[in-house]
Symmetry: C2
Subunit: 293 residues, 2 copies
């Protein structure tokens, strides 16, 4: 199932960045951070959602489609090259132009030799004030896969996916050992004081629950800094298969979090809290329905 032995330790790096409007600058800074992380022992490096630009969905603006690229394209090729150069797996989130009028919010996993380990297209697309994603992104059509890499079997959900237990379970059932969530979530100025702490807590709680329910590592990489009206709340983190926080970045400020993940914990945790053993697959068919009332 996996290309790593069951007792291998993997060092995961989460690159929490601020993002400017200049793609070249974001890419250069991301490549720099990847190189530094590799130098510090990282095996798998994950960037934040749509790292090459500012978050494009605060309004419905046709000009923002110009920021998209085909895959492969210049940005994906730069990441592939960096993966090979440093011998690290890279998880990159890209605004994909698949065809005229068909755009996706896509994550690519580059293996440590620069080859493409797999592609995921964001399945759950939000639409809320300042997060007008349904205008830009066609929902993904590649399901919830995971990909064997030199450093473990990896799955990627993207932002809104993190609220869906169904997605996390399907990634786990496909064999994922580490589940990454590149994300771009922040506070709205008129909500932060009253709801900000609860919103952040819900976000973290939800992903910790995916780690617990599925007995795998979960790593969330968020933006930081202000763009337009949104204050991205950073706080990138890694949770172990019991949902314990192994490390967490600050809300404000750039940071590269490097966290050791012992993949042998997965089997140990799952045999001690054997949730996968007892699923009632005979009784879950209603999950493919919209409502049951």
């Amino acid at each position: 199932m996996s290309s790593v032995s069951s007792n291998q330790t993997v060092n995961v790096a989460l690159v929490q960045m601020r993002h400017s409007a200049a793609k070249d600058e974001n890419l250069a800074r991301a490549l720099d951070r990847i190189g530094q992380a590799a130098g510090a022992g990282a095996n798998v490096v994950c960037l934040s959602e749509l790292f090459a630009g500012q978050y494009p969905c605060q309004s419905e603006d046709h000009r923002r489609f110009d920021e998209a690229e085909p895959i492969p394209g210049p940005t994906s090729e730069a990441l592939a090259k960096a993966a090979a150069e440093h011998g690290v797996v890279i998880v990159g989130s890209l605004f994909e132009r698949r065809a005229p009028g068909l755009y996706h919010n896509t994550a690519v996993v580059f293996d440590a030799d620069g080859s493409t380990a797999g592609v995921y297209r964001k399945m759950h697309i939000p639409d809320d004030p300042l997060y007008y994603e349904k205008f830009y992104f066609t929902p993904g059509d590649l399901g919830f896969p995971s990909f064997p890499t030199r450093f473990g079997r990896i799955a990627v959900g993207v932002c809104w996916d993190q609220w869906y237990p169904e997605a996390a379970r399907l990634f786990a059932l496909s064999g994922a050992q580490i589940l990454f969530y590149p994300t771009a979530i922040g506070w709205l100025p008129d909500e932060k004081d009253e709801f900000g702490a609860s919103q952040h807590e819900a976000w973290q709680t939800m992903m910790r629950s995916h780690a617990i329910a599925n007995g795998l590592f979960v790593a969330a990489v968020n933006r930081t800094g202000r763009e337009g009206q949104l204050e991205f709340w950073g706080a990138s983190f890694v949770a172990d298969p019991n949902g314990n926080l192994l490390a967490r970045a600050e809300h404000a400020g750039e940071e590269t979090l490097i966290v050791e993940c012992d993949l042998a914990r997965i089997d140990a945790v799952r045999t001690h809290w054997p949730f996968l053993r007892d699923r009632r697959i005979d009784a879950y068919e209603g999950l493919t329905r919209r409502f049951l009332d």
Copy 2:
């Protein structure tokens, strides 16, 4: 869908108890607590898992089957009578003797007039050291329903069910507004120091995540006190549809937690964080499979 208007406030009471080996004594004390809760304004009272006895599954002992009762039976009838007498909905968890050699871990929801609003049979059955439930309980065959009552539409999961996002989702899709989890979970003596805090935190995190993912109220009722080798960890709680803890009992000591739940919050939360809107029901069929690798 529900028998309450959307802006009704419901007072939920969680009865956190110690349990003796004497069924009469446990029942009398539970009835007492129900009456007190009703007097304090409670509308829905939930007892802990298998409240009529000590937790029977610390060993595999055929004599423990004698503690089971048919439903209806003396214990369920006493609860029905109390519901009518006090005008409260009661959630009671019972060791059910359904037929010779066929036993279930069953929850009954009694409506406020004493009628039976619905029956749920624990679907996910654990089996771990000191929790030998697979020896006693046949897995439930009634799916994941919810039941309209005078005080809202109620669903009940039982203990091990609380670790399964599938169950919580199906209860929500059936229209549940408040999801109760009668439970009996505690620390093992040789694990508490090293793992106890993490175990309790995972348990609470998991159920808070059900509240968040599904935008409903979650109420967990646990035992407290020591029985044999198990130290039940109490800490009964109610979470709102954002996953915030509205109230939480102590680990040690009997307590009746009475918590006001504003059912109008459900629609407000679900339209602000519209997770149900965006489920990819076209892509969830793998959830009915054991593994996908």
